[in-house]
Amino acid sequence: MILATAMILATLRLGDTKMGHIQAQRLANGLALMVIVATFVFAWMRSG
């Protein structure tokens, strides 16, 4: 997860520019994706 975050950050050009805004949205998408993957893992661990 930490590695995935680092990979997302490596592609970002953050700042209060239009590009920064687009990247902030991409960051939200990336983080939500990681959360969903973690939830899938949780469901796999808990399922019988």
Partner: protein
């Protein structure tokens, strides 16, 4: 740049860890029965959806130590996108459960439990409203103030129903410890809302300001001078902004962001340049002297870096305000670094602060370039828009790897100028833009 990445990386990892944290003790509980994968997925999405909703309170809590990582505007864009994703995850929670086991539909059956069915339905509609209202509410005629109130109340309501639902289902919240932790976590999220909407205004109550004067300027701009009443006033850096509330109560829903126009070296008086663009900005132009106001701030990362070797301001219309503040501050500090202001307007009459800007440009280290899109024949300066060719003509002397670029103005002008600057190879960490797109 590295610092920005480190900070953003820290907050990103913290975000994901906080969201998935409740899944860890839930996954490790050996005392609970194991269920179908789909059911656990649906339940897990409900848990993380609630956590993501809670974190939305933090991204809008106006913490001065968070925004500089990514910029205030970018934080709001993150908030909006995270809101849409939270809605999708929260909606996926019941949908997956209904598909995997239709017996879960009883949660919406009023015959089995009327309050539960009503509150879960309302919370689902409220969650949709949280995303739809900011996108469409203003177009439908909802005022900014009412949107702000309903957004906060809806979010708090949905979060509380989510907590009550989790406690009532009682699977992963069985046991006193799990219940207490759930209440504490949701209570913590709500605290951020209470802090922003109640605690901060309560503190501002003791630090009122007064309108000392309102001076009309060119370009339909009013120069609003404000002085603190019984205190020294806040300390800001040139380029920053504050949220302004007029009237006797800081709890008013009428709160709008304005950049400081005054020098940050000047204490005891603040100037804001306000152009009429709505009800509030129209009313404040006619505000009587002596009117009480409250200022919350300062906020914003639109600031001159002490390590920058030069600064270029690319402004349009009222977007000149932060540049003016930085130029006034530089003059007061005796800052001899090169400054260039490229200022776009429609006509000569629309140039705000024209006289003072021309005075500032008399300093040997300050260049002022007026660009008019609708200039008449007598105008001998630049005509048209801020283009690559125009910048090529005027910026050659200050271009360097540590030159800082500030862009502020109407959105189409900002989009065009940012594109030009990126094409010219300006590194993103040296390019700052202020849009005030907070809804």
């Amino acid at each position: 740049m590295k610092q920005i990445l480190w900070r953003t990386g820290f907050w990103s990892i913290a975000y994901v860890l906080v969201v998935v944290l409740p899944l860890v003790p839930a996954a490790l509980r050996g005392d609970l029965e194991r269920r179908e994968w789909g059911i656990e997925l649906g339940v897990g999405l409900g848990i993380v959806g609630l956590m993501m909703l809670g974190l939305q309170f933090i991204t809008t809590a106006r913490f001065r130590w968070v925004a500089p990582s990514v910029g205030s505007d970018s934080l709001i864009y993150f908030h909006r996108q995270a809101g849409i994703l939270t809605l999708l995850i929260v909606l996926a929670h019941p949908l997956i459960l209904f598909v995997v086991d239709p017996d879960f539909l009883r949660y919406l059956d009023p015959r089995e439990n009327l309050p539960r069915a009503v509150f879960l339905t309302l919370a689902t509609l409220g969650m949709v409203g949280l995303v739809v209202l900011p996108l469409w509410g203003l177009r439908w005629g909802l005022s900014y103030e009412w949107w702000r109130l309903t957004h906060g109340l809806l979010a708090a309501g949905v979060l509380l129903v989510g907590l009550a639902h989790g406690l009532q289902v009682g699977h992963y919240t069985s046991g006193l410890v799990a219940q207490a932790l759930s209440v504490m976590v949701v209570g913590g999220f709500l605290w951020f809302l209470i802090h922003a909407r109640v605690v901060k205004p309560w503190r501002m109550r003791k630090r009122p300001y007064r309108v000392r004067d309102v001076v009309p300027d060119q370009g339909d701009v009013a120069r609003v001078m404000i002085e603190p009443l019984g205190h020294e006033g806040l300390v800001f850096e040139a380029g920053q902004y504050a949220w302004m509330t007029t009237g006797h109560s800081p709890f008013s829903l009428q709160q709008h962001p304005f950049s400081f126009a005054s020098s940050s070296e000047k204490r005891g008086e603040f100037e804001f340049a306000i152009k009429e663009s709505g009800d509030f900005t129209g009313a404040i132009q006619d505000v009587p002297r002596g009117t009480q106001v409250f200022l919350e701030g300062p906020y914003g990362a639109f600031r001159l870096d002490s390590k920058a070797e030069a600064a270029v301001f690319l402004a349009g219309g009222i977007g000149v305000t932060p540049a003016l503040s930085m130029l006034r501050t530089a003059r007061d500090r005796g800052d001899q670094r090169p400054f260039v202001l490229v200022y776009g307007n429609t006509t000569p009459d629309a140039i705000a602060y024209r006289h003072e800007l021309e005075e500032l440009a008399e300093q040997p280290n300050v260049d002022l370039v007026h660009v008019l899109s609708e200039a008449d024949e007598p105008w001998s300066g630049e005509k048209g828009f801020i283009t690559d060719e125009l910048l090529q003509r005027h910026l050659t002397a200050v271009v360097g790897k540590d030159t800082q670029y500030f862009v502020c103005g109407p959105p189409p002008m900002m989009d065009a100028v940012e594109k030009v600057l990126m094409k010219r190879g300006v590194p993103s960490h040296r390019l700052l833009a202020e849009r005030f797109d907070f809804i």
